[in-house]
Every structure is written in C-alpha cells, then in structure tokens.
C-alpha cells in the first residue's frame, strides 16, 4: 500500500513538473528568478520506522502541526522560566521554525531516505582524522585552536549544500539570471555563486583539477525547463549537512572528488524544487539525492550576514577554554 502511494506521488509530481510551464526571461530562458527562502523542519534522514514512506500520514502531520503550535507559543513567551538554564544559543524567538510539511526526509534516494553506507576507505579516514579526534563537528567545548572548530563556526563557508539545507535562521536564497549566467545567492555567509550556462558545455570547460574550491566549480545547462548544474573541483574541507558542518552524529565529510548535480525546477508559480545528487564513490557506496522544495516569498529580505566580521564567539571560545585550563591548574595546585 505505501509503495502504491509512493508511485502515485512520484507520478503526480512528475506530471505537475511537466505540466507547469514557467514564465520566460526576456531572452527566452525558463525564468527561475525570485526569492526562495528555505523552510526549516524536515530531517535530512528519515526515521527508520517510516521505511520507504515519503510523506507523513494525516495523524502524523496533525501531530507535527500541534508540536509547531506549542513551539510557537513557547517562542513568544516574554519571560524565560525561572529554572531555565542559560546556554550559548541565541534566544528561542530568533529561530525560524518553518512551516510544517509532510515530507519525511530531505533524502529521497535511496528509497529508505537514509544515507548509503560509507566506503571502507572513508570509515578509516573518519576514524583517523586529526590523530583520532575525528573531523570537527558540533563544538563540544574543546578548543586548543580555531582549527578544532568546524568551518561554520569559523565563518569560512557552509559549502553548496550546507548553504541550501534549511537551518534555524537566515535561510534566504535568491536566484538571478542574465543571458549566459545564473547567480545563486545564499544569505548566511553571503555566498553568490556565478554559474555559467552553456548549452554545448564546451565554451566553459571546468577548471583544471589543480584548482580546488570550497564551493567547487559550477557549470549549468537547461534540460527542458530544468536548470541542471554540475559542480566539481571541490576541496575535502567542507561537509554535507546543515551549515556545511555535518549533521547530528555525523561529520558529513566528503572527498574532493565529489561530483554534485543540482536540478532547479519550477513546478508551480510559487514552488521551486531544488534537487541535488551527491556522487562521491570514495565516500559513499552509492550516489544519493536530496529534495528541498522552496516556496517563493518576495517579501523576504536577504540581509548581509557578516559572519566572520562579527565572529566574537571565536575569540570568546578560545579565551574561555584558556581560562578554564588556568582554573583547573590553579585548583590542582591548591
């Protein structure tokens, strides 16, 4: 039964995508331009008990909505509870909770919505990284150097996928087009990826493999009304997951040989499907694909996110760690 629903769902989606004819730019390309902020709230991986089910049932969805309502009430509370523990995170009302949707996971392939198995090579690499400490993920209080923090804390970049996967705030995405180019802007850490568009893909060959970039080297072409962007020339220094810094329990590390295929399709006047296939045989035993439906919101204002310029936290984290060491030393010599 669920498989049957899945099939109908896929067919419906395909039919909608094919039936909807997006407007054209003045020079005749499909027009994807607009403000397309991300919607936080769909997990990257599907809870295992949901199996191959891509959408929530009515009951599950109602539960998710009720939860969102309770959260919104909590966010709007004027005063913190007297027993609330202060943390390092911003106040609750800063957080964009997103509008609940029925999507059960961002991963749509493999069909179980889970990451494929890691290769043996990658398992070894992750275990041995940084002398056995592993790749920097969520900060756990240890900070001998700024290099102990992930690239998001360091405000370097969030990478291509980390910039699109919705997070707790500043999820702005904007698409702009001119003849021969598409610009994909992401709000947090101010990315503006300039993608050359070339039907023949010979006018703009990829950069030499000697040149490596966090955001890779992107080339686009049109397949019908879908913009297909192929990106190579990555580093192995960013990571896949929210904020380009992995996801709970996983550093999201990938290899520099990763090939990323993004597909941008307008499936309605206000919906753009962002689909990305991660093809990295060095890291995962098979390719996997995520789907992020984006809803147009021209009222959204994309602001300048001066992450590094305002990175007071980095100095505080390092000096805090030094102060803690000093205190331990003082306490032990008493």
């Amino acid at each position: 039964m669920p498989a049957c629903f899945l099939l109908i769902g896929i067919l419906l989606q395909a039919a909608t995508a094919q039936n909807y004819a997006p407007p054209k730019t003045p020079w005749g390309d499909p027009d994807l331009q607009g403000m397309w902020p991300g919607n936080f709230g769909v997990p990257l991986q599907r809870p295992e008990n949901l199996g191959t089910r891509t959408t929530l049932t009515d009951a599950e969805f109602a539960q998710k909505q009720a939860q969102a309502k309770r959260q919104a009430q909590a966010d709007n509370e004027e005063f913190a509870a007297p027993d609330a523990k202060p943390g390092i995170n911003p106040p609750s009302y800063w957080t964009e909770r997103g509008t609940p949707t029925r999507q059960t996971s961002l991963i749509i392939d493999p069909p179980d919505g889970r990451l494929p198995a890691l290769t043996a090579e990658e398992q070894k690499l992750r275990k041995e990284a940084r002398g056995g400490k592993g790749f920097p993920g969520e900060w756990r209080g240890e900070a001998a150097s700024y290099e102990d923090l992930n690239i998001y804390y360091r405000c370097i970049t969030r990478g291509i996928l980390g910039s699109v996967i919705p997070v707790v705030y500043n999820n702005g995405n904007e698409i702009l087009q001119m003849p021969g180019y598409v610009v994909f802007r992401n709000e947090m850490i101010h990315e503006a990826r300039v993608i050359p568009i070339d039907a023949a893909s010979s006018k703009h060959p990829h950069l030499s493999s000697a040149i490596r970039q966090y955001m890779g080297d992107s080339r686009g072409h049109w397949e019908g009304n879908t913009l297909v962007v192929e990106t190579t020339n990555f580093t192995d220094l960013d990571a896949i997951g929210s904020n380009g810094a992995g996801y709970p329990g996983d550093p999201g590390h990938h290899s520099a040989d990763m090939k990323l295929i993004e597909r941008f399709t307008r499936v309605g006047p206000n919906t753009l499907n962002y689909q990305a296939t991660i093809d990295d045989p060095k890291t995962w035993t098979k390719p996997w694909t995520i789907l992020i439906p984006l809803t147009r919101n021209e009222g959204y204002q994309l602001l300048e996110y001066a992450c590094h310029e305002g990175n007071i936290a980095m100095g505080d984290i390092l000096t805090g760690a030094r102060a803690e060491e000093q205190k331990k030393e003082n306490d032990s010599s008493k």
């Binding site: 730019t25 150097s145 610009v183 503006a192 300039v194 590094h308």
Partner: protein
C-alpha cells in the same frame, strides 16, 4: 529682436558644444545593449593601479614586515583623488595616521573583512558585474563579498552594513549607484584612509570602449572631510577566453593573525 536672436543662437551653440564635449566618448563608442536596452556593462573587471595601497600620491616604501622583503613592499603611485589629496578635517588626520601606523593588523583587508564601497572595486582581485531583471549584481572575488544594486524604487538603508544599501539608476549609458548605510568600519586602502558611518558614496560606471569602464566615486562625510571629494580610474575588462571569478575565501588566511594569541600553544 536681432540681439535676442543672436543671444539665443549663442546660447544654443554653447549648449551644443558643451553637450558635444560631454558625449565625445559616447559619440565615438556606443556600448552594446543589455536585454533591457541599457548599456551592457556586464563582465569581469579589475583595476590596474596602486589605489588599494594608497588613494593619494605616494612614493615607494617598505612594507610592514621585513620578512617578506621586496614582495611585501609597496609600489609608488599617483593619486586617484581628483584634487590630489583627501580633504580631512584637522582632527581626522590623527586617526588616519594612527590607522597607517597600525595597518599590518588593523587594516580590515588583513582580517579578511568585506572591503566595503568603494574599496571593493579597486582591490587587486577581479569582480563581476551581472545585469539581471532583479537588479545589477556585483560579485567580488575577495572574501566572497557581493552586493545587489536595486534598480527599482529607491530603498532606504536599514541597518548599517559593510557593502551598504545600493540604489542605482541610469543616466544615459552611465550606471549611477547611490550607496548609503555603510558601517564606517571599512578602509579606503592599505594606507589607512577612512570615513565614518556617515559616508555617502555616489558611484558612476561608464563603458568607454569594449575593454574599459570608467569608474568614479564621489565621497561625502561631513564628520571626517571638509568637503566632498572624488576618485576616478579606469577598470580593465578581463579578456581571457577562460576568465572567471575564482574563490578567495580568506578567513582561514587571517585566523592566525586574529586568534593565534588565544591558542593553547600560542603562535609567537
């Protein structure tokens, strides 16, 4: 009556001559058109001058670190300020001098901070202009800085930012950008020339031939300068067949400078 006619003719002639002078460049060269009929300025450009070292006239001088030898030294250069020197108020001169003295660590460029306007346009890194129906996008290689110039109804600046609030319009084939809402933390150059958050910049980009833009920026900040002043320079189009912006995410090159002292094993 005859006097009046002659006067009118004289005025007309003078006006015609003035307009001929003003449009002498555009008469000789008409820029290709963008999809919307405006001059097409899109492309990758870079300044070829010493403005990023020092907007004003300056002799060659040693850099801030002897370890880098001649590589880190600073070439001499002629002023891009139209009247030669920046008209600082007397009390602002001391701040400029202090900036210069501490430039090795105080220059926002050293810290990989967004360069602000106008500096972003004459750093030794290319930038790309993309004319789109949603506005004119400037993407800079340095620090992944960028700004979208609003070509519609002018928007008032919200919070102060590094790259400012950018409202553009066309004056003939010249793109004019009014920049406000700057945070006053950016410098004009490595010599410590600066302004405050009251800075108001009016930029003018004109394509004067297939390979060059003329760039002008008029600066106004009554808290720092005695009067408005202006810079101008050509910007050179990248004509290489494979020209494209590369990535220069310089944060990781600045971390040791910014945080090295706080490490468990501090750098010397």
């Amino acid at each position: 009556m005859r006097v009046l006619v002659l006067t009118i003719v004289a005025f007309w002639l003078a006006a015609a001559q003035a307009s001929a002078q003003a449009s002498s460049q555009s008469a000789a060269y008409r820029a290709p058109r963008s999809f919307d009929g405006h001059a097409d300025l899109s492309g990758i450009y870079q300044a070829v001058n010493t403005a990023n070292w020092d907007l004003e006239d300056h002799s060659p001088r040693a850099g801030t670190m002897w370890e880098t030898g001649a590589i880190g030294s600073e070439p001499g250069g002629q002023s891009v300020v139209e009247e030669g020197a920046i008209p600082y108020k007397p009390e602002a001169v001391a701040k400029k001098k202090a900036n210069f003295d501490h430039r090795r660590t105080a220059d926002p460029e050293a810290k990989c901070y967004m360069p602000g306007i106008p500096r972003a346009n004459y750093m030794p890194y290319p930038f790309q202009i993309l004319q789109t129906p949603r506005g004119i996008m400037f993407v800079y290689e340095f620090a992944s800085a960028n700004r979208l110039v609003n070509m519609g109804k002018p928007e008032e600046a919200g919070s102060d930012t590094w790259m400012g609030t950018n409202n553009g319009h066309w004056e003939g084939d010249t793109l004019v950008i009014d920049v406000t809402g700057l945070n006053g933390l950016a410098w004009f150059d490595r010599a410590g020339n600066y302004a405050s958050s009251h800075l108001h910049v009016v930029e003018r980009f004109t394509r004067v031939d297939p390979y060059h833009l003329t760039y002008e920026a008029a600066m106004e900040d009554p808290t720092v300068f005695t009067r408005p002043w202006k810079i101008s320079m050509p910007l050179y189009r990248k004509v290489e067949k494979n020209a494209q912006l590369l990535e220069f995410k310089c944060v990781e090159f600045a971390e040791e400078l910014l945080y090295g002292q706080y490490k468990k094993q501090p750098s010397k």
